[in-house]
Symmetry: C2
Subunit: 191 residues, 2 copies
DNA sequence: GAGAATCGCTACGCTAGCGTAGCGATTCCT
DNA sequence: AGGAATCGCTACGCTAGCGTAGCGATTCTC
């Protein structure tokens, strides 16, 4: 069952994630991954010829899709999405890694693609929740869901990444109620 | 008038900003700054003994405070803040640099302080706009303005940094109207 | 204009990390 | 069991970047 291969893969990708957390994408080196994982540097090169390949595979291992809430209650579903993003997609460790990938994505197209893909995947549940709400008529059918998506997830991402303050109940309440009240009532006048 | 000193300072900090844009905080080296600026490496060391000092001073040069809009019209003032953030505080170049500082801030306390300070300064106009709106009664007096601040600027920051899609009129409309409608009407029920 | 400060330049020695070659040892597959 | 694949290890040569010393040349200051 090629246990050896699996052991190598697990050790190396695990060490890579640790180091991505500690030193970021730019600070990651083959030497440090070898030292941390206990796997010989040459072996690592054999499996992952470039740092980008190693990083990308490690990140794909880290990624675990979260379920899509569908209670029918928009408030509850939104709240579930926010909690999922802040607790699973962007916990402390992942937030640090995310920041580093975000930095790399600004300059390297390869990381930009990776980042775009992972972001889209993480936001898929929210996206679906919004689509269903739109079908139910709880959201204006004229709304651009991409825009809405940025609008509702922006505060959470910013909170985790930029402000680095805890996402507590008060903030979630404020966010959910503002979104629902602001988007639900089609009181758009001065547009 | 110590013209020489000024020339050194300008060249070095300018080159530093260029390189921060191109290669980020971690990729910045004294050697590259020396080569780009035309100033001898030894001279750079004499002025800025550590990379952090050099980076911080360069960033402080880049920072220019934006005016605080105060037309009395909350919609217009918010809109002005968003445009200011997206066009001045976070144009393409500054967004790349910001991403890099954000990454560095996740691990190095020195950069974390710098980042917190710069962020607070950039958001000061918005903060003031919100405070005035609260005094005028256009915003609930029970609202935590820090939370509100994250709520309203989050979408803009995310759009610039994460989604990297243009902030067009449609998005600004959506954002402003949602905020005003959601925060203005105190229809908070299920909290 | 003279002394003091600053700058440019070369030349160091040192380390981290790169990416590869070679080869014995281990493990896999059947 | 035995050939094939994989892994660990050492040892390379090479480059980029570090941070400093020394000293002539330029520039500032008074």
């Amino acid at each position: 069952m090629t246990e050896r291969r699996e052991r190598v893969r697990t050790s190396v990708l695990g060490a890579t994630l640790d180091l991505l957390d500690e030193v970021g994408v730019q600070g990651l080196t083959f030497e440090s991954v070898a030292a941390r994982s206990g796997v010989a540097k040459t072996t690592i090169y054999r499996h992952w010829p470039t740092k980008a390949q190693l990083t990308i595979e490690a990140l794909s291992v880290m990624h675990e899709p979260s379920p899509t809430p569908n209670s029918g209650d928009l408030r509850a579903d939104l709240r579930a999405c926010f909690v999922a993003v802040s607790e699973h997609a962007l916990d402390d460790r992942k937030a640090r890694i995310f920041a580093s990938v975000l930095d790399a994505a600004q300059r390297d197209p390869e990381y930009a693609r990776l980042h775009a893909q992972r972001t889209a995947e993480s936001l898929q549940p929210l996206r679906t929740v919004l689509e269903l709400a739109q079908l139910r008529g709880q959201l204006g059918s004229d709304l651009d869901l991409d825009d809405v998506c940025d609008l509702v997830i922006g505060p959470v991402i910013t909170r985790v990444l930029v402000t680095r303050r805890p996402i507590d109940e008060a903030f979630l309440d404020l966010l959910v109620e503002t979104i629902v009240a602001g988007l639900g009532a089609p009181a758009r006048t001065s547009a």
